[in-house]
């Protein structure tokens, strides 16, 4: 299971001659980090890494805030048409992304957002799954808690921020980690809205690397390692939440 990863690391430490040796060497004779220097020097890998971080962090924070606020309204407030509106949210969950992708692209084009960070961030902020997940969590918090707070003169905002949010930390962490990963690994959407590589995140950047150095496998593997390490670090740190996010949504990416 880990062999492809080990082979990736091994290749990334070889010089170009050593990748063309048969039978393959598992432990390179002259291991060096030269490929990492080359791939970050001649190719903007670090810039892509920065883009990935920026987009993933902003998408995650924005999504958490927008989803939790709407979830609060759906779970804790009474208003006309609430349940029907929520049903509409739920109904859109089974729509595959490919259906909305073409009009979303046209929307981005009309907004003048092609080749911008907005195109990478804004559409990703509105997650129906996230709203649904947080509503479930908020519903499980006892009503008495907020009633007591209202008696003390608290308004909706302070109840949301001081009572509901702190009590929902595990669910927020699950959604946060999950949307971070989705954003980090997103490829198809970037393929559509980004032409100018200065806005590329790592997956798109890697695919550009492929176009440029099809045969330079040692450099490509160095690029892949750079893209895998950050998400790996986050994963090892927050395994539980990754797994929860994926099992609850049934989505792989």
């Amino acid at each position: 299971m880990l062999l492809p990863f080990l082979w990736m690391i091994s290749t990334s430490l070889k010089n170009q001659g050593a990748t063309m040796v048969f039978p393959p060497q598992f432990i390179p004779d002259h291991a060096s980090f030269q490929n990492y220097k080359d791939v970050t020097g001649a190719f903007p890998m670090l810039h892509f890494l920065g883009n990935s971080l920026l987009v993933a962090v902003l998408t995650t924070l924005g999504q958490l805030l927008l989803c939790s606020m709407a979830a609060y309204a759906f779970a804790r407030m009474q208003f006309w048409g609430r349940d029907k509106l929520f049903l509409l949210y739920l109904a859109t969950m089974m729509v595959p992304a490919q259906v909305t992708m073409i009009p979303q692209f046209i929307l981005m084009k009309n907004f003048g957002w092609l080749d911008t960070y907005q195109a990478l961030i804004v559409p990703g902020l509105f997650s129906v799954f996230g709203t649904f997940l947080l509503r479930q969590a908020f519903l499980s918090i006892p009503k008495e808690l907020e009633e007591a707070a209202f008696m003390d003169g608290a308004n909706h905002f302070s109840i949301f921020w001081r009572v509901i949010m702190p009590l929902s930390k595990p669910t927020l962490a699950t959604l946060g980690i999950f949307s971070f990963m989705q954003s980090w690994n997103n490829y198809l959407w970037l393929l559509i809205v980004i032409n100018d590589k200065s806005y590329a995140t790592l997956p798109l950047g890697l695919s550009l690397l492929q176009g440029r150095w099809e045969t330079n496998w040692n450099m490509m593997m160095a690029g892949v390692v750079i893209s895998v390490l950050p998400i790996l670090a986050v994963y090892l740190f927050a395994q539980k939440y990754f797994i929860q996010g994926m099992t609850m949504s049934g989505m792989k990416e």
Binding site: L88, P123, N185, L188, Q210
Partner: protein, 291 residues
């Protein structure tokens, strides 16, 4: 609410709900409806939109390339689904016991799941390299030599299937682990008293009680695999000779390479209908198991 006027409540509902609601309608509901509308037109984004009724759908029914893409997707699923289910279940069964290094194995199997498709596809493209790839090297031990995986029409799809199974084993495993933990140990204790062996226990207790989970995992994987794209785009771009051109690759080509927005939208709606039917079946079956 205690002592709250209607007006005040409306204000707070607006504050909390509106930002999300505006985005929901702009980026989800509106695109969903427009996509349906666009599917009844011919449109290349530049000239004026031309309403053509259900012509796109009629044309799709006789479009050989579309049916080939449909067939390739189904081929992918037929190869991928049984393998990923069997390996995923096997790993879940192994890791459900108190084996040594359980946390390590669990992390190792889940590692490909959190890695991006692009990264995984590039690593496997290198593994499948005909001259210097590790896979042909291993195959040479058993006398199989010189397979040109991604350039061979009959091997490209198997290569994509192998890559996808490897990436998703951990995902299926985690879902099965959840199901296994819901099976009460008392069944196994009873079976022990009757002297049942492990094979019998698996066949007569684990597998039947795992049926709802198995069904759920199958449906989820089925829905996900109808949308297979990233690995295809990176490893073969639908080639060689269209051998791995799957549904989403075909939608992508028609929309963003040939700019046939109407035709591509119609295709995406066919995909939606397929997924919708699968989801309906799941809902029906789940109700039955819930009772």
């Amino acid at each position: 609410m205690v002592g709250m006027t209607k007006k005040k409540t409306a204000f707070w509902v607006a504050v909390f709900l509106l930002p999300n609601l505006i985005g929901f309608f702009t980026f989800i509901v509106f695109p969903l409806l427009s996509s349906l509308a666009i599917s009844f037109t011919n449109w290349d984004l530049i000239s004026t939109m031309e309403f053509v009724g259900i012509d796109n759908y009629k044309q799709l029914m006789v479009d050989k390339e579309f049916w080939a893409a449909f067939t390739h997707t189904v081929t992918f699923i037929i190869g991928y689904l049984p393998l990923v289910m069997i390996f995923g279940l096997a790993c879940a069964l192994l890791l459900n016991r108190k084996v040594k290094l359980r946390a390590f194995f669990r992390a190792a199997y889940f590692l490909p799941v959190v890695t991006s498709w692009v990264a995984v596809s590039l690593v496997w493209k290198w593994l499948f390299n005909p001259s210097y790839g590790l896979i042909n090297y291993f195959l040479s031990f058993v006398g199989i030599e010189g397979l040109n995986w991604l350039q061979d029409e009959s091997l490209a799809m198997p290569a994509i299937i192998i890559t996808s199974v490897w990436k998703d084993i951990g995902f299926v495993m985690v879902l099965f682990l959840g199901g296994l933990q819901n099976i009460s140990t008392s069944y196994y204790e009873a079976a022990d008293i009757d002297g049942a062996n492990s094979w019998k226990k698996f066949w007569n207790i684990t597998l039947p009680l795992l049926t709802p989970t198995t069904f759920f995992v199958t449906i989820i994987s089925l829905i996900n695999s109808f949308q297979v794209f990233d690995q295809v785009m990176i490893m073969t771009e639908g080639g060689p000779g269209g051998a791995t051109n799957v549904l989403v690759q075909n939608i992508y080509n028609h929309a963003f390479r040939y700019f046939e927005m109407g035709y591509a939208s119609a295709m995406s709606w066919i995909l939606f209908i397929v997924i919708f039917v699968i989801t309906l079946i799941q809902m029906k079956m789940q109700k039955r198991w819930a009772d």
